[in-house]
Homo-oligomer: 407 residues x 2
């Protein structure tokens, strides 16, 4: 697979424009963009994955209904209010679609809607109305970055990305925006993410590619072990790249899925690195597992451990924290064959061999762990399967942010 | 069931003496007691439960072997070093038993051994030897409280308890000591705990009673979601109360199990309240669940949520955090029938009704949540099952303690 990351986000692929404004969804917010529109000149084949939380925002039910036919032409999304656990949530989500549809001249049934923010507080529709009005006629290629800003909540950096690859003699572009940064956990299309592409692909193949790409990326990120009520990852394909439409799992499908996986892994790392309060990105790589599932289970257990996360914050090369998390992961593992190393730009250090703690150079370990991107390497001898998971350290700031989230 | 808590700990029941000293297991520790012995004048029927972590301290394998015959007469336990993931761990654990046995004049096979502290560092046996020598001949009724101190790690208060009840016209006493306060999670005999009683009961019935009592108490506590490698909860029964020995599940068995459950629940609350860095005890009570298992699953999911824990630290009555944790718990639940209240000594406030967030008096909520014991009440309408789980808030101090645990 030969692909390259380029500048841009959701408007990088042909056919897409976007915008984001400050609509003051939270009355106290008078400066931060909190409402976005993404639009495509043509009706797109579309697919999405959603949170597995039983408590769901009504935006999810509305979007699911709108995507039943595998088609969409626009996205409307707000931050500042999750529109979850509200009596009028469904109605408000439909109103958002209708307002966006009217402004963009599309059918309300072809609008994807999403919200993020505080749960259980009524969504005020008036700011949404005014914000959409303000965006009417302003959607542009440049507006993509404003859309990326508008979906940020506790994120400290906006997340947008674009990637290009060749297919069938044509250049295909894929772009996306994503938000973090708390209530993020493995095993779902975590957080809000919107992905666009000019690839020609059927809705069914788009859905399959999405599910495959998510498996090794979004589904392997954890910030705090909490699964949001609003997680939505939607993808729209305009077909404007002019490639032969992908309608089956052929080589073109495999190429696209590989590109999407690679791009999503990069997003997963960005989400983890900007996890609430995070000072370090943690990448856990497990190899030598009996099965892929065991490798994933172990990698996720380590990434999710509060004790591992706090130790990494403190740059403490405590191998006991890692061994402990391997042991309770639920994966099948021979505990007498666990090797553990820490690696960063400053080097690599082995702290555990064959399940036994080693004496090691504490100063060297400290130097390695003071970097802001740490790899935790776990080597087993149970088989040939491997996996990677992405997380972040647990810091004072995580506690601070979530000790008083609503104000 | 009619029982009363009395002063004292492991030496409260007839036949038991104990002691604890500073043995400097960690060379840097020259003041804190870190080695304890518990002894009974007679061979006791005994039972224990252990961690389910695959990575286990060798002390657990040695104790399991010694308890195969359901008999024990002494306990030797140290803090400051977990004796886990060490090449010579098994040998050292056996040496500890032998040293204790020699000093106390019992068989090494009748000694229960446990360790707690840093994982993956060799246990120095010389301090253990000297410490046991220092305790020779000093075991006493008064020494129980020293033993309770000796097993403390990051605990801020020592945990000892005793309870009395009448059985068969005799007064039976049960006493215990326990340690917290991190790496504590549901579904096992969490932490180190040693329980003594003068009840006459067979080893088999003692084991059954222990398993039943643990289910509603130790197995419902979480501090940080991490499952220790060293968890051991052992109970020894001297039979000196003179009651008719319990050898089957009769009324006497039920009485004892109820007393033990009650006492263990009190310990569970103490462990949670003194969880690493904790400023508040959280008690989550779920009722109206379809099954007992669903109720437990929901209560544990809430208690374990980092976001719930951080919100409670900040006295933020965020109902979204609770609904979210109910929704991803995995339990079967009708999300349209979830009521959520917070309760403390300052009153009670309903923040969610029928799965929908309510407007509520924020000042009143703050007042309630600023207390140091908070009940999170979740009421469902799916059935008649209920459950309780115990946890604590997530604070800056948790991060601080675990950012640099080993020094």
């Amino acid at each position: 697979m030969d692909c390259k990351f380029i500048a841009g986000g959701v408007t990088a692929p042909q056919g897409f424009t976007a915008q984001g404004v400050c609509a003051s969804i939270k009355p106290s917010n008078t400066t931060k963009r909190d409402l976005a529109l993404i639009y495509c000149d043509t009706l797109c084949n579309s697919a999405a994955v959603f949170t597995k939380n039983l408590v769901k925002s009504d935006t999810i039910y509305v979007t699911q209904k709108h995507l039943e036919n595998g088609k969409a032409q626009a996205v409307v999304v707000n931050s500042g209010n999750a529109n979850a656990c509200n009596a009028d949530g469904y109605e408000k989500a439909e109103q958002m679609c209708k307002l966006a549809a009217d402004a963009l001249g599309v059918s309300a049934d072809d609008v994807i809607v999403a919200s993020t923010g505080v749960i259980g507080q009524e969504l005020p529709i008036e700011p949404v109305k005014k914000g959409i009005e303000a965006m009417r006629g302003t959607l542009s290629k440049d507006g993509g970055t404003n859309a990326a800003e508008a979906i940020m909540t506790t994120d400290t950096v906006k997340k947008e990305w674009a990637v290009q690859f060749e297919l069938d003699g044509k250049t295909v572009t894929v772009g996306g925006i994503a938000k973090g940064s708390g209530m993020i956990h493995i095993n779902m299309g975590t957080t809000l993410s919107f992905v666009t592409t000019d690839l020609a692909i059927s809705s069914q193949m788009l859905k399959e590619a999405l599910l495959e790409a998510v498996e090794e990326s979004y589904n392997m990120v954890s910030v705090d072990g909490d699964t949001s009520t609003n997680d939505t990852l939607a993808i729209m394909a305009s077909g404007m790249a002019g490639n032969k439409e992908i309608t089956e799992k052929n080589d073109d499908y495999n190429t696209f899925t590989a590109v999407l996986t690679e791009a999503f892994k990069a997003v997963a790392k960005k989400l983890a690195a900007d996890g609430e309060g995070a000072s370090k990105l943690l990448i856990c790589k497990v190899n030598g597992s009996k099965t892929k599932n065991d490798a994933k289970t172990i990698a996720k257990s380590i990434i999710c451990s509060s004790l591992v996360k706090a130790a990494m914050f403190g740059a403490d090369a405590n191998c006991g924290r890692i061994l402990c998390a391997v042991g309770y992961s639920g994966a099948e593992v021979n505990v007498h064959n666990i090797d553990v190393s820490y690696r960063s730009a400053k080097g690599e250090i082995l702290v555990c061999k064959d399940g036994l703690g080693l004496a090691f150079d504490e100063e060297k370990a400290k130097e390695i762990l003071l970097e802001n991107e740490i790899e935790i390497l776990v080597s087993l001898s149970d088989g040939n399967a491997s996996a990677e998971a992405y997380g972040c350290d647990l810091t004072y700031d995580y506690v601070k942010i979530n000790g008083d989230y609503r104000t």
